[in-house]
Symmetry: C2
């Protein structure tokens, strides 16, 4: 059977459906942002892992190695926060082809170290090996959480409020912008090279040579936020600390790596509930809106399906409404319903549409 018939989540279900847990220390296995293992009487241990492949997850023509190191760590730390935990350690494995130099890897590690310092995390091990082509990065993050307090995907209940941190869609618009500028840049170079090949006049050749050296790097003025969101995402430690400070224990939580729709559906499916999300309440930055206009793309689609925001999506009991309102950087975007009401987006003009997961097969096709 072809893998695309199942999709990412179908494939994972298929491969892991027969797994039976054998150790009492394993509190939660496959199916959440992290596995949950028994630590001591007061503490549970969280484990999460990601495998990032060149050409699929990152494009080295525009992301510098240092940023890539930083981002690789952040996307894993984000999964620990998405369980309400505190990241403590990471392991880092790299498979590298011959085109990489020691300096490239030093830059990568520099980015890693900055992320780890910001989040008080130790790099405790890993593996460094060769690859036939391209770069592969595998990071495992380990964290802790108070025993029994890990915030899973399956605890949302009807009437709970749906909350999201930060704003959505900016990382996706940043990606679109980088892709567009990359095309423009290569097209300029290609055209000059073509002219050079066609002319035999030495003066003209020199002028073209000059033009080639002057092909400008893209100017991202006024769009820095979009680039920053794509190249240097944040893991929302501050939100987890804020929730703890307010005494709020969310009933479910997930980080937004594949887009709001997909993540919301994970919570609904695993909690056995439905939801109503209001389009007008989805937090979107001004630059994201301007860019989607410029690119003639649907803004809500970018926010719903764009992914890579690494914001936190979570649910809290209605009783916590005022506490949430008092928190900075968190917005209430809807509420949880009984499962039979479905998972629904309510548009600005009052229409209802079922939320749809896009996931990775779509994004990579």
């Amino acid at each position: 059977m072809n893998i695309s018939e199942l999709g990412e989540f179908g494939l994972i279900d298929q491969l892991t459906k027969d797994i039976k847990l054998q150790n009492t220390e394993t509190l939660c296995g496959v199916g959440d942002d992290c596995a949950i293992l028994r630590g001591d009487d007061n503490t549970d241990i969280l484990v999460t892992t990601d495998l990032l492949m060149e050409g699929i997850h990152f494009d080295l023509t525009y992301i510098p190695m240092k940023h890539l190191g930083y981002k690789s760590a952040i996307v894993n730390l984000s999964d620990i926060y998405a369980m309400g935990g505190t990241p403590k350690q990471i392991t880092v494995s790299l498979a590298i082809s011959k085109r990489f130099q020691v300096e490239d890897l030093e830059d990568f590690y520099e980015g890693l170290r900055i992320a780890c310092q910001e989040h008080k995390v130790d790099i405790v091990g890993g593996d460094t090996t060769s690859s036939m082509t391209g770069l592969a990065i595998s990071i495992t993050a380990i964290g802790t959480v108070e025993h029994g307090k890990a915030i899973r995907r399956d605890g949302a209940k009807a009437t709970d409020i749906v909350c999201v941190s930060g704003d959505l869609g900016a990382a996706y618009m940043g990606f679109q912008l980088l892709e567009r500028e990359k095309q423009v840049y290569y097209k300029q170079i290609e055209e000059i090279q073509k002219k050079m090949a066609e002319t035999t006049d030495e003066t003209a050749k020199k002028q073209l040579q000059q033009q080639l050296s002057e092909v400008s790097q893209p100017d991202f003025a006024g769009k820095e936020y979009l680039i920053e969101r794509q190249m240097r995402p944040s893991a929302r430690r501050d939100i987890i600390e804020g929730l703890r400070a307010q005494g709020i224990q969310p009933t479910s939580m997930i980080d937004i790596s594949d887009g709001l729709s997909s993540e919301m559906l994970h919570i609904c499916k695993q909690s056995g509930v439905g939801c109503r999300i209001y389009e007008e309440r989805i937090p979107i930055d001004y630059q994201t809106a301007v860019m989607s206009e410029e690119m003639n793309m649907n803004l809500t689609t970018a926010a719903l399906n764009g992914g890579e925001d690494y914001e936190l999506l979570f649910t809290v009991p209605v009783a916590d409404h005022e506490k949430i309102e008092a928190m900075e950087g968190v917005k209430e975007i809807g509420y949880i319903t009984q499962a039979d009401l479905g998972s629904v987006l309510i548009t600005r003009d009052g229409n209802e549409f079922p939320l749809k997961a896009q996931g990775w097969v779509h994004l990579n096709s």
Copy 2:
């Protein structure tokens, strides 16, 4: 700087030399088979990770997906045993290109599950994603060990006895055998195809077609052990349990993935000692010896540098000599000396040679 100038271990040193541990829970970071983290009052947690790349670590023309799944788990569990620990959980990440089918991955998972059942280990998570070319496998294993009892590489002391489990060199000879048969097989096919292209006679063509369908798969009769050691290695849980039963606490331990020489030098360097290893005592299976004769390869070199045996190399105080002798499947191959005496192999004819690490750059060149 070119990475080959530093080599694998030089590169890891270079990248990790500036890492400072920030969490008191991190007892031991980079530099051993596993990281050691604080669990509860009685238990420490071990973490290890490996990244396996198609074309570098495995060749799908002869290893079936099920065996690959099994072996991928085993090489990580072996690292947990090499710290004297008990593996409890693994996470599994796969990056897959378009040529793989769902059934391939089911076979891989079947092998994984068999290894996990044998070692009472839970699969608790992972990541499944796309790759541009080939298969990448990243596994992280988590285990436990009694607090303070993890067996590190840095505890060997002068006069300690050097011990090794099982026998060495067989996995390497198995690899050589598979490589040879692969060449023979392709050469046969190539020759027939050449003849077919050259002839215009229809009867001759039919005969050649028949020959093509009859090109035999290699016959490994009498060499099964070598193939088994390469395709389906063991992780020596039994040795760890035996040591515990005998009340032996080794002073240092490592698993043999890169060959006896390389691993022995890790122990010597990190313990600040030297060693004397006796060639005649290195355990070698009969099939390994026969095969090295047949291939006209040096048997001791295969045992010293071959790698992939996943046996345990460890040191114990002299006082444990009799207990070690009582254990099945463990052999004393030499002893630890002061550092200034060097790390030395004593050959059958009494000559001395310094041990040399080969490591991965060599193997891949």
